[in-house]
Symmetry: C2
């Protein structure tokens, strides 16, 4: 069978079923946002990695190299945030550089990475720089810290928990759609393009969420629906999402109309917003909502189905789910 038929998530399942080598010191292996290694003094180490390939994950006609470097680190840091992590982190950078790469281009990549690193307290401690026959390849691996009492696994949701989100969704997808339509420089799209090119990992709030009632988290990378699906699978629950309660960025409807795009499709399927989806115990949700830290957008249920309700409470026809690395959009 070809990898395109199985898909990325099929492959992850296969590898988990194949029982990857797992020795001492592993709290959590493959299948969450980051792996967790046993630490000392109640602190776990979170380990995560992401590969970005030119022509698949980015197009250098749509992003400057500094933003690419920034984003490459930010998405890894977002995985640490999605575990409930925070504080210092450490990264190693692998670059596969195509022939003819200018030194200045590599400096630009590092300039953006360094910007994100300073911003989020990450040290760049080394890496590997090699040739690539065609196209730029970036791989970052990050070690972060998660205090035992802050841990937010994907598997922590229970029926009755509220579904909450820490910020606006859909901005990144609108930005990408604007870039693809050649409108990335138009004023009304600039805010979305920026969110697409320089996403913000939610390390500013992640480490405190469990103490405030959250029990599970995932970062929105593949798309709201797909990422919600991951929480449901790992927790063995279903969910009901109220589309009308999702916080959208200002001007989203007009921007989508201008692009001739289906706003609900972008919001539910687009991904790359890097806000956190949370499962929160209903008694505690009020506090997160009152402080503006997160907004309730649904609830977790018995069963395993994910349904989306429109503003009248009727079930919506759901657009095709978000980004998967091997399958084409359905």
């Amino acid at each position: 069978m070809r990898i395109e038929e199985l898909g990325e998530f099929g492959l992850i399942e296969l590898l988990r079923a194949g029982r990857l080598p797992r020795g001492e010191g592993v709290r959590l292996g493959a299948g969450d946002d980051a792996a967790l290694l046993e630490g000392t003094d109640g602190t776990l180490l979170a380990l995560t990695t992401d590969m970005l390939v030119e022509g698949i994950h980015f197009d250098l006609s749509f992003t400057d190299r500094a933003s690419l470097g920034y984003k490459a680190l930010a998405v890894n840091l977002s995985d640490i945030a999605a575990m409930g992590g925070g504080g210092s982190s450490w990264a190693v950078v692998s670059l596969g550089l195509p022939p003819g790469t200018e030194v200045g281009e590599v400096e630009e990549l590092y300039r953006g990475m360094s910007e994100a690193a300073w911003e989020y307290g990450c040290s760049l401690v080394g890496g590997d720089t090699v040739r690539s026959p065609r196209g730029l390849v970036l791989n970052l691996a990050v070690v972060g810290k998660v205090r035992e009492g802050d841990l937010l696994p994907r598997s922590g949701a229970r029926p009755g928990d509220l579904l909450m989100v820490t910020g606006e969704v859909g901005a990144s997808a609108l930005g990408l759609a604007a870039l693809l339509a050649g409108k990335g420089r138009e004023d009304i799209f600039l805010q979305y393009v920026k969110r697409h090119l320089r996403p913000r990992p939610r390390l500013d709030i992640s480490a405190g969420l469990r103490a405030r009632g959250a029990a599970a988290a995932i970062d929105i990378s593949d798309g709201v629906l797909r990422d919600l699906g991951h929480i449901c699978e790992e927790s063995g629950v279903g969910a009901e999402l109220r589309y009308g309660d999702l916080p959208l960025p200002p001007g989203a409807e007009r921007a989508a109309a201008d692009l001739g795009a289906d706003l609900a499709g972008l919001v539910l399927g687009g991904g790359e917003d890097y806000e956190l989806l949370l499962a929160v115990s209903p008694e505690r949700a009020g506090e997160l909502q009152a402080t503006g830290t997160a907004v309730a957008v649904g609830r977790f249920t018995e069963g395993e189905s994910v349904t989306v309700l429109d503003s009248t409470g009727r079930e919506m026809k759901v657009p095709s789910p978000g980004w998967e690395h091997f399958k084409e959009a359905g």
Copy 2:
């Protein structure tokens, strides 16, 4: 300036000079075999990463995928060994898979990686699997442990220290030369080919070397001469290498002759043997030598030049140095 003109090591210097972001908890950043993070209880964490790109680092007509997976993990573990590390380790795996990849091929990669992982006590705890437009890309990142008292930085060599090596050199280069000559399946080359395809990181001895008199180490990946050069640069010393004392694999002369290859060139420049080069205080070298753990092959000197002596004590003309990722062989 293009990256080919600057070269990999020029790039590393440039990035170090550019002062990469470095916050708390970093004992050692870019420039050694692995980065070192402050741990607790006298244990440091070593963090390392390596990217392998099809067409640059491997050719699937010369290696089976299981061996490729094995080697990809082994070379990272060798970086941990070169710091004096040992014990448990943890790895994340990024795969960039070209269109048409068969699921069985990915399973083969993981089978080899798992073999190395079980053998060396490494847990495979997650990763990222993405599409690559052309050619296979593997990136591994490994976290290992180094006890404070075992630490072997590149910078630890002093004039007067003996230069020692923990095993045979040249086998991997002979194996690669045999593969390139289409002779990889001939009986006399099999031992070398195996050493090339499935190198052994020296985690079996690495953690005890400092207690036995070693003060600096590097693993032989780029080639004896080049790796010796790295120790000299970081330590601010020179070195004198006695070519005739280097332990060669059995039958090396005949094999090189059969291939029409310059044996000294392969031995000094070939690399990928993953034995350790050590700086050892002269009073302690006898013990390492007597137990067969390492063999004295020269000494460190004042100054900064690296010279190679033949068996008569005369300076040898040195073949062009080993593998560098961006520059063509001189």
